[in-house]
Amino acid sequence: MQNTTTTIDVLGRKIHEIRGGEGRPLLYLHSAMGEAIWLPHLSTLAQGRELHAPAHPGFLGSEGIEQIRDIEDMVEHYQSYLDAMGWESVDVVGLSLGGWIAAELAARFPHRVSKLVLASACGIWVREKPIADIFAIDTRFPERLRNLLFHDVNCPAAQWMVMPGNVELPDEMLINIMNGFAATAKIGWNPLLHDPRLERILHRVTARTLCLWGANDRVVPLEYGEKYAKLIPGARLEVIPACGHLAPLESPVAWLAAVKGFLA
């Protein structure tokens, strides 16, 4: 299948999605960056699989954020999405915010997720290592955001990634960033990017699970990967050395090898 952009109807909400590749379906749930766009790691994930990367409500024009008050509503949305796609069960890769949604989905509707990759996922809380308050980042200092997201701020991805406040961005892009951040705030403002109920239900997950972390994640520290791996039955933790929060961008080779190997 060619890479395509399409619109899906989920409970009457128009949802933006990119699709590509052939094979068994693979669902990718994006982070607060809103990467339902063809970044290199998504192109690679689409090799040998039919990759679907929908934009969450509020991101990239996907509708329905008005009806979503919290993570539970977001998970309901994805259950309806799976129904709309006609999938009884699917493999899911979720990055950061997307990982949180994926973990909730696998815990609340265990039979609908076959294999689960939680990459740099928020969603739980480790008191000693709080998740970074991404909402408090001052856009006057784009280098701080870069430093938070990457282990090595000189890596190629850290250099090409656009930081708001850094350059003149076209209005459409600013609007997408603002809407995406507002949608993230809607479900993750308080408690900060986690759901205190989730850790009590993670034992229900039946999906084979890989927790994949950058060793030096400054947004959702490695301890979160360890905690997820401990709470999800049979889950395995894989750590990418010298790598930060945006692992698929900073260490694409190691990250993709781990994900592809696990999904094979």
Partner: protein
């Protein structure tokens, strides 16, 4: 023209290098900086300054609500208003405003304002605001719900004041089985409503539709205000009426001395204290706090370095944008008359104490304004005899 003395109650004794060692005067400025003994002096001085507005001949005073910051020490404006109710007999007391989404349930605001209105004999103006961006950090209230919470809380308060209780109010955010606010306000049907806005069209349309008063959020370039008030007047016209001057208010730092040169000399350092130490952080705009359209506009105007006070680097910038009205009584009168007549506003809200300005100086400033500026402005811009349009009640449909 109606004249109001507005007080922010700032923290005056920050370390000289505060702005170098702290990025924000809000949310994260550590409260170890607060010296309670100094605080005692500030509060009592500031309350005296406000109470003195009455013998000086002002029409009213304004207090406002901000949390966890060094810019203004008034987390509870209703407490200060309560003290002023007992210290004054004639003047209006405008609470501009209560940040509705920070009250849960917001019927708390309906109760407190009604108490103040009853005790003061109907002298309260109820300002209602969405709250500043920093407050959403300080209260951990979801900014993506700011607008819907405000709209719902406002409707709840207005219904609580006007609709016989008990009744049920089941909104998206607030679910109350029994709304029955006791006491009800003295003013009929309710105290005047002032809504501050920073130029978003949605706010102006809402205020125009309901026949409330629109107060421009301060510290913008005068041209920005002029554009906004023109828009507001248009919104009123679209609603089929001409905006009443008292539906609009201009809020400005004001300083009066014998001559222009003396005024600048006495005032300038306090302005820079205000701008450099107290403003940073005020414009925090958490995600979802405003509509994307407004957010984009604000984002751009903050960056152009000209529209907002944070861009002022020289006294020339201050004068050019009219970020403060400073000078001899003649100069101050002239500027107020020029801007107020163009804007069409019937309320002048003055900050007579700004930044680090000591109390004695602030009181002298207010006195000179009252004696030498107010009568001249009133002569040039007499009050209209046209009555204020009546606020529209919310339709009585079950919620």
């Amino acid at each position: 023209m109606k004249h109001f003395l507005f007080h922010l109650m700032p923290y005056r004794d920050l370390p000289r290098d505060f702005e170098k060692t702290h990025e924000s005067a809000w949310v994260w400025a550590p409260n170890s900086l607060f010296d309670p003994e100094k605080g005692q002096g500030y509060y009592n001085d500031y309350i005296d300054q406000l109470a003195e507005a009455e013998p000086l001949g002002f029409d009213g005073v304004c207090v406002n609500e901000h949390h966890q910051n060094v810019y203004g020490l008034m987390p509870s404006p209703n407490l200060i208003a309560a003290m002023l109710v007992m210290r004054t007999r004639r003047i209006k007391i405008a609470v501009v405003g209560n940040a509705l989404p920070l009250y849960n349930p917001p019927t708390r605001v309906a109760e407190e304002i009604a108490m103040l209105d009853v005790i003061s004999g109907g002298r309260i103006i109820s300002g209602q605001v969405i709250g500043g961006g920093p407050e959403y950090f300080s209260f951990s209230i979801n900014p993506a719900e700011a607008r819907t919470r405000f709209a719902e809380a406002h409707e709840l308060i207005m219904r609580a004041w006007t609709k016989p209780g008990p009744f049920e109010f089941y909104g998206e955010h607030y679910k109350l089985r029994y709304v029955n606010v006791f006491p009800r306000p003295l003013q009929k049907p309710h105290p005047p409503i002032w809504i501050p806005g920073a130029g978003s069209l949605e706010t102006m349309e809402f205020v125009a539709k309901r026949r409330y008063s629109y107060m421009g959020i301060p510290y913008f370039h005068i041209d920005f205000f002029k554009k906004n008030y023109a828009l507001f007047r248009e919104c009123c016209e679209k609603e089929g009426y001409q905006a009443h001057p008292e539906q609009m208010g201009l809020l400005m730092p004001i300083y009066v001395a014998e001559t222009d040169a003396k005024a600048r000399r006495e005032f300038e350092e306090h302005f820079w204290y205000f701008k450099n130490k107290l403003i940073p952080g005020l414009t925090l705009s958490p995600p979802g706090y405003t509509s994307v359209k407004s957010a984009l506009r604000v984002f751009k105007s903050l960056r152009d370095g000209k529209t907002f006070i944070n861009g002022c680097e020289s006294w020339e910038d201050v004068e050019k944008g009219c970020f403060a009205i400073v000078g001899s009584p003649e100069t101050v009168t002239e500027k107020i008359v020029e801007h107020a007549s163009e804007i069409g506003c019937g309320n002048m809200l003055g900050l007579f104490q700004l930044g680090s300005m000591p109390s004695a100086q602030a009181r002298e400033n207010a006195r000179r304004y009252a004696e030498a500026v107010m009568p001249r402005v009133n002569k040039a811009l007499p009050d209209t005899t046209r009555p204020m349009p009546a606020a529209r009640p919310f339709p009585d449909e079950g919620k």
